[in-house]
Symmetry: C2
């Protein structure tokens, strides 16, 4: 919806031309309406929302911002609330229940019809981040002995209450998953053919599987929906692709935040309070600050060295910076590689050997550039040798630490993303200072 359209709606609202407004809104896509609603005045929102046809209202409601939804729910009569909730797909209803304050949840559950309430409660009992918590319990199940025309009849009957109809699941009398079949296959097959002859072997996940693994598996198989089964292989729900994409995006954001030494935010940037932002950042800042004082003490220990050759101090930022950058480059490659499953733990030695070879190329190139620069500017061969050797040592060490720490973290069942730039840099800083001054002490005979 372009900007001019928003202005038009606003002036129609001011002029109370509700019939025209209803016609305009009805022709729009729910995602556009939802984002338009987030910019609308508080008092206009309930009026505009009530203008939407029932179906579109529910679809829009599912896509709106949580606070807009809460605002609407507070203004709803019980019968209005019931109408919206009953139109929602169960997985969307669960998302909404999840984010609302307790008193609103009570009202929602009280006003949902009993069948829907039971489905919502069913999903709410699964642990956060599990496949069960992400799934919807509305899907189309078929029996193996059905004919194609039976199946199509069943789909037509179920289509209005199911989010994803294009893959149907074949189950036995005990709800055990036997296979899946797409509407595409049904359309290609003869009317009399049996489902059991057409269905594919099931690919599925368990209710307790981690939702990130579920999303990755769906991506691997290019599935629009993934069946979720319990320990007895009984089908309990499906995860749809739109939720899988959101999971992939959220998990990546979380990784990126952890890699920058922050606790992952639960809400979007602007919705998080200053204090919450600060709390997400302060823990690691404190830890890293205190660790850096260790580097400081090491530096103090070599006071005699830079008292006799003060110029040594001026190379510290360059050495520490280069070490930190090398370490963060290699740790980033490894963390991302593991997160998209390109790098496995069994590749440990292969990775270390590869990073070692890369570090040789990098360290000698950087050492040569720096050595020449020092020869030209300072005309001091000893200084050039000391700095070049320190660079070589620092870069090799940084690359190796950068690639090993994330893999070791994973081995210890920690999140590899923790071992990213900030920690690597702090470790490398300390070691780099020790290396640098030991080389300097040797060559300058201090």
């Amino acid at each position: 919806m372009a900007l001019s359209m928003e202005k038009a709606i606003e002036s129609l609202y001011e002029a109370k031309k509700y019939q025209t407004l209803r016609d305009i809104l009805s022709s729009q896509n729910e995602a556009d309406i939802a984002s338009f609603f987030s910019g609308v005045k508080e008092e206009a929102l309930p009026v505009l929302f009530r203008l939407l046809p029932k179906d579109l209202a529910a679809d829009t409601f599912a896509l709106m911002e949580p606070e807009d939804r809460e605002l609407l729910i507070h203004g709803f009569s019980d019968s209005e609330l019931k109408e919206v909730i009953d139109e929602l797909y169960v997985d969307d209803a669960v998302d909404i229940v999840d984010e609302m304050p307790a008193n609103v949840v009570k009202r929602i559950l009280k006003n949902a019809d009993p069948e829907k309430r039971q489905m919502i409660n069913e999903i709410l009992k699964y642990p956060e981040d599990s496949a069960g918590s992400l799934m919807t319990v509305e899907y189309i199940s078929l029996r193996p002995k059905m004919t194609v025309s039976d199946a199509i009849k069943r789909i037509r009957r179920k289509v209005h209450e199911t989010e994803t109809i294009y893959t149907c699941y074949v189950t036995d009398d005990n709800r055990r998953l036997l296979g899946y079949i797409s509407v595409r296959t049904l359309l290609l097959a003869g009317e009399k053919e049996k489902i059991e002859d057409l269905m594919d072997t099931p690919v599925c996940v368990n209710t307790l599987d981690d939702k990130e693994d579920v999303a990755k598996k769906m991506n691997k198989y290019d599935f629009v929906a993934m069946p979720v089964v319990d320990d007895e292989m009984r089908l309990v729900g499906i995860v749809t692709f739109d939720d899988a994409i959101d999971v992939l995006q959220e998990e990546t954001t979380e990784d990126i935040e952890i890699m920058a030494a922050m606790a992952p935010a639960e809400e979007s940037y602007f919705k998080t309070s200053d204090l919450k932002h600060a709390r997400n950042r302060i823990v690691w800042l404190l830890v890293l600050m205190l660790s850096a004082t260790l580097t400081g003490s090491i530096l103090a220990y070599y006071e005699s060295a830079f008292e006799s050759v003060p110029i040594l101090v001026s190379f510290i930022p360059m050495l520490m910076g280069t070490g930190g950058n090398c370490g963060s480059q290699s740790s980033t490659m490894i963390i991302r590689g593991m997160s998209v499953d390109e790098i496995q733990l069994k590749d440990f030695f292969k990775v270390v050997w590869m990073e070692f070879r890369i570090s040789l190329i990098l360290s000698f190139s950087l050492a040569i550039v720096n050595g020449l620069r020092i020869l030209v500017f300072y005309r001091d061969v000893t200084l050039a040798v000391v700095i070049s050797l320190s660079i070589i040592g620092t870069v090799i060490m940084a690359e190796l630490i950068g690639c090993m720490l994330p893999m070791i973290a994973k081995k210890c069942r920690l999140d590899p993303a923790v071992m990213a730039a900030p920690i690597i840099t702090t470790v490398v800083d300390a070691l780099c200072i020790v290396l640098y001054f030991n080389i300097a002490l040797k060559f300058f005979n201090i």
Copy 2:
């Protein structure tokens, strides 16, 4: 496919039990077969591949690793190659053509049937990273005056040659996009209803739109497929959700690599040569190393200060480290926020003001902890004041630079991800040294 299954297949292969092998492989999912094939011996691959039924062979081929595919193509007779290519969907064929060496491409195009060849060439002419390069030209189009039963007949006729059938596109006589309709809507509607009365207003992208924007738009609308139109609104193809997910993942990996000061890799970690890895990393390392020497020169300028109060040197790692970490935290939040469209350029002052408030909380907390630590360990009030003031200044400066630079980069149409930790750190390092020694000079009367 579990490990035991792989062993079983290998021994069946050694024993030349091809019929059993064919039965086993036919029952498997194409994604599993493709990943199994990537671990198989070179000489076994063509044999195993030829055992697959035609459909499954093409589906598997589309999912295999590029080098496995090249191996197979080299061994194919022209008629075998033709068979595989003709079974592939056009967008998969284009991906394969894109990654093959020129001589293989020639063979593929020569052996594709003329219609498919034309479709492949059609897509190849669009710029890399455009919606056109990502789309497939196989989709189902309907006319507005068709009835539902006409439409279903047409879908049945087209289903075998189209990747995505569940959304159909309504076009006029000049191929202009008028709307879209899902198979779900068709199944719910009466047989005699007209398509034009059932279809939804089209949401579409232009052939030249950036593929990342296309993927984000699909995610916003939860579309399984997105229609691609030319400047005259003529429908030329569709982008399917599996390709959109891959784009989102690739773009994120690229962002993360750029944020760690690397040129984005074109291939996966292990497929990139040492030299290529080194080349991707060295440019920024050199730039940042030389920039850090500037910080070194600034440090040298304050030689007199740390000659009279040598303990000052030992706080440099802590100050530079903390500044770098604060800057990388805020730049990471802003870069990711912009990349998932949570933060817009128009929010510039809102963001700066928010980061300023956060930096006040962070800087005072860190300053107090550090000030107390210094009082306890060194019993030196002046030193405690100097370090605390320097921390406050550094943190506030780092947070502001960290949030502003990525937004300024975006304003200048540069990739905001460039303005991440490494550059921010280098800038903050230099400014932090100036600040620190100026405060120290004042308080110690040097």
